[in-house]
């Protein structure tokens, strides 16, 4: 493990300022180095990680402790829930676009579809996919670790998530069906008669959420400790790829926000099961006073949104991180303002805990609170805008490859700016009040936390598929997939802004002959048609994956000529332990593309300074 053996002592004194930065002096912060050995990296602090290698099929593929397999398991389970969510959205659009065409969709069913679609997409699909899927696969590889630090707990984390998904899906088959209270589950109506699924449905939902939180906590501890305490030699915090920064910050948010969800789930379960009145005020129903009384429904809203708003960034921050890396690799340029990007991620994460009540402007609050939460909400626009500028400046004069991955990234930037700007409308109390609970809100959050992160996921799939499966996805199919999805998504959500402006309320089963529907009917049909097409277009990806696995071109190692460590594993796809006999030693950040003087247009993170002494690398 000692580094002395790999020092290139033939290095002469031609060091420029930039090279000097790579010497031991910069790394250790000591001013005492007289003849700095430029390739010096501090020796390993920790012994090699003790890994348990699987002995049977079940240990290898089912109850597996390898973070990469767990990542794929998370990914596939989350995608399964996502497909369920997609089908539910189709059913909703069928009803909205062509009311009465599908007779089996009753008003109760419609509410159940809305609820399950929302909860599945936000929690079980996006959160699990980004943190459980990409997090598990990429964190150990990108920071240069052999595996997550607690592989057994990591395995439990996935299986807890799996049970949560099973419980959630079971609620489709219980008497009364799944809950139809809306994904926000606002009491008191959630657990009262008259709401679909007020019996078993809501109970299973709450149990499933609690299991999800427990499972996530186990995973989240792994992600955090692996990033903080198990990086390889030379991998300083400011040399981590932004993907890792995004996932890390999102995990911190989740560890602090999910407790509020757990607590509100437990309290509502007790309200439902034991007849406590945590969230239940005195209620008159058909002239009779119910047993409940004295509780506070607003309390639930506060707890829920204390989870719910950071949750938006739990989904968005990994997307920010991943897209930064994808753009940098495929524009062959270093990410513009790396430090600014890191601090923007951290800043957005911190601010996200102080904005939750902007979801509650119409719940009734002291105007000064509205003022406070509007201010904090609008302040978030600052770091977010910095990120957007930096992405664009990264593209500026880059050597851009217009491949499928880059298309998804560009699609993300456009969509995210769009959704972000409508967010500024909704963040202002006086503008939000008339727009509240209209399709404008639906359009806003689907753009900003539905479509935009989804674009990143798609880009990430095309980018990392060669690593995971060892084969290149078909570019032609990928471009079809992108253009239909991108244009289709805009066809769905752009008109929704207009629907919101003319006042069409959301979560309504049917508009009947309300006055605004004269102009809304045609639009609704158009939106629904687009939704069917976009949903079906995802088959391009499925087909692409099947085709690639069968006849696709075998991927070479590091097909995108990227710098970060996941492309420098001993085998492709990486085996258990990731890096073969020796862990990589890191000498630079992962964004050294097109460095003046370098032979190739990229310098891997492992390239030692003495190998690139003649180049003008940046100090990192």
């Amino acid at each position: 493990m000692s580094d002395e053996h790999e020092n290139k002592s033939g290095y002469q004194a031609q060091s420029s300022e930039t090279i000097h930065a790579q010497s031991s002096e910069a790394i250790t912060g000591s001013g005492s180095g007289i003849a700095p050995d430029m390739d010096y990296v501090r020796p390993a602090e920790l012994p090699e990680q003790d890994l348990y290698h699987p002995h049977s099929f079940i240990e290898k593929w089912v109850f597996c402790q390898d973070a990469k397999v767990i990542g794929v398991q998370y990914f596939l389970t989350a995608v399964f829930t996502g497909i369920v969510g997609l089908i539910l959205s189709w059913l909703m659009r069928l009803q909205l676009g062509f009311p009465g065409l599908a007779g089996f969709i009753t008003a109760e069913h419609y509410y159940q579809f809305v609820t399950m679609h929302g909860m599945i997409m936000v929690v079980y699909f996006l959160t699990a996919l980004f943190l459980g899927g990409f997090g598990n696969y990429l964190i150990p590889l990108m920071v240069g670790a052999r595996d997550m630090v607690f592989p057994y707990v990591n395995m439990l984390s996935f299986w807890m998530f799996f049970v949560a998904v099973v419980v959630l899906m079971a609620s489709f088959f219980v008497p009364g069906g799944p809950t139809g209270a809306g994904w926000t589950l606002y009491p008191p109506q959630t657990i009262l008669e008259g709401t679909p699924g007020h019996g078993w449905g809501i109970l299973l939902m709450l149990i499933s959420l609690s299991l999800f939180v427990i499972g996530f906590t186990m995973g989240g501890l792994n992600y955090m400790i692996t990033i903080l305490q198990a990086r390889t030699r030379g991998m300083t915090l400011m040399r981590m790829p932004l993907t890792v920064w995004g996932i890390f910050t999102a995990t911190v948010l989740a560890m602090l926000a999910f407790p509020a969800l757990l607590v509100s789930s437990i309290m509502m379960t007790l309200d439902k099961l034991l007849g406590t009145s945590f969230f239940m005020p005195t209620i008159l129903k058909a002239g009779e006073v119910l047993e409940y009384g004295g509780g506070s429904p607003i309390l639930f809203q506060h707890l829920f949104w204390f989870f719910g708003h950071p949750e938006v960034y739990i989904v968005a921050l990994p997307a920010f991180g991943i897209v930064s890396d994808l753009i940098s690799v495929h524009a062959r340029k270093n990410i513009f303002g790396y430090r600014m990007m890191v601090w923007a991620i951290v800043g957005i994460g911190a601010l996200s805990f102080f904005v939750w009540a902007h979801h509650m402007y119409v719940s009734g609050m002291n105007p000064w609170f509205g003022f406070f939460f509007a201010s904090t909400t609008l302040i978030i626009a600052v770091p977010t805008a910095m990120k957007v500028y930096n992405w664009i400046l990264t593209l500026w004069r880059g050597n851009i490859r217009i491949n499928t991955v880059m298309l998804w990234c560009l699609g993300f930037i456009v969509t995210f700016v769009n959704g972000g700007i409508t967010g500024i409308f909704l963040g202002n109390v006086s503008v939000d009040v008339p727009l509240s609970d209209t399709y404008f809100v639906v359009a806003h959050f689907h753009m900003v936390m539905g479509i935009a992160p989804l674009m990143v996921i798609m880009g990430a799939i095309y980018h990392w598929f060669p690593l995971v499966a060892g084969k290149m996805l078909n570019e032609k199919l990928g471009k079809w997939h992108f253009w239909i999805t991108f244009l289709g998504a805009y066809s769905i959500y752009f008109p929704m802004h207009y629907l919101g402006f003319i006042g069409v309320p959301r979560r309504y089963y049917e508009m009947y002959d309300s006055p605004y529907m004269t102009s809304g009917v045609g639009l609704n049909e158009f939106i629904s048609t687009a939704a069917f097409i976009v949903g079906a277009a995802q088959l391009f990806l499925v087909f692409n994956i099947i085709k690639t696995m069968k006849t696709g071109k075998k991927a070479e190692q590091n097909p995108w000529k990227a710098n970060s460590l996941e492309w420098y594993t001993s085998t492709v796809p990486p085996e258990h332990g990731n890096f073969g006999d020796r862990l990589p030693v890191v000498h630079r950040w992962p964004y050294d593309y097109n460095v003046p003087g370098a032979e190739q247009d990229y310098l891997p993170q492992t390239a030692a300074p003495s190998e690139v002494a003649h180049t003008e690398v940046e100090k990192t």
């Binding site: 790394i27 501090r42 990086r231 300083t236 407790p259 757990l262 309290m267 309390l299």
Partner: protein, 236 residues
């Protein structure tokens, strides 16, 4: 100045030095065991859970229209025919805090590889926890006997019983889980698993006395939370 514990690590003074240390390679918390770091972060998350519970309790208590029961009457215990307020709870708190002390000693003897003392002290801690849970069960049954239910009670606001059973129950669950682990660790210490570096049943990872300290962190946390619950329920 270099860190004597970590080869090649240089310490620098001031804010810049702190930033450099924090952002340096490999580990952020130098020399901190993975499991210990994990437990600290888990406890931070758990702090948020209990904070949410207690904030919800404050909100529920202040917004319910009915009168809140007087804790010094509800929680009084008859001692020789005289109702003494907070008697039981004072005993419970004493037992739990004492068990924190034995736990701290167990950690010390663990690091000294004094297997026997470490094991006995963990056993004492476990018994303390068990006593606490037992007394809590007694308190619950006494209140239930007096007609306090999660959904109603004869003393006033229904939310009193709801929050009391929920929060003390959640804390009691934490203590019970801790007791189970204390017994397991007690066995492992007496059997010498940590001296031999025997691999765990489930995790297949080698054990070490640092695990005693990690469990100790959890145990102290549970005690600390109890202090807050005590203050919020019995003294407010």
């Amino acid at each position: 100045m270099s860190d004597p514990n970590i080869e090649g690590f240089e310490l620098e003074k001031g804010f810049k030095g702190m930033a450099k240390d924090t952002g340096s390679d490999q580990t952020m918390f130098k020399g901190v065991h993975w499991g210990k770091a994990m437990m600290w972060i888990f406890l931070l998350s758990d702090t948020f859970v209990f904070s949410c519970f207690l904030i919800a309790y404050m909100k529920g208590r202040s917004s319910t229209p009915a009168e809140w029961p007087n804790p010094s009457e509800v929680f009084a215990l008859d001692a020789f025919g005289v109702p003494v307020p907070l008697l039981l709870i004072a005993l419970m708190t004493f037992v739990l805090i004492t068990s924190s002390g034995t736990m701290a000693l167990a950690v010390k003897y663990g690091y000294e590889k004094n297997r026997k003392m470490c094991g006995y002290l963990i056993l004492a801690t476990a018994l303390g926890g068990l006593t606490f849970v037992g007394m809590q069960a007694y308190e619950w049954s006494k209140l239930i006997h007096e007609g306090v239910r999660p959904w109603s009670n004869p003393f006033g606001a229904a939310q009193f019983g709801s929050f009391f059973f929920m929060i003390t129950g959640f804390h009691g669950t934490h203590v019970s889980i801790g007791v189970i682990f204390l017994f397991i660790y007690c066995y492992k210490v007496f059997a010498g698993h940590y001296d031999k570096g025997k691999r765990g049943w489930f995790t297949k990872m080698k054990g070490d006395y640092v695990e005693v300290e990690i469990l100790g962190l959890y145990w102290h946390f549970v005690d600390l939370v109890w202090v807050f619950i005590f203050a919020f329920f019995y003294l407010w």
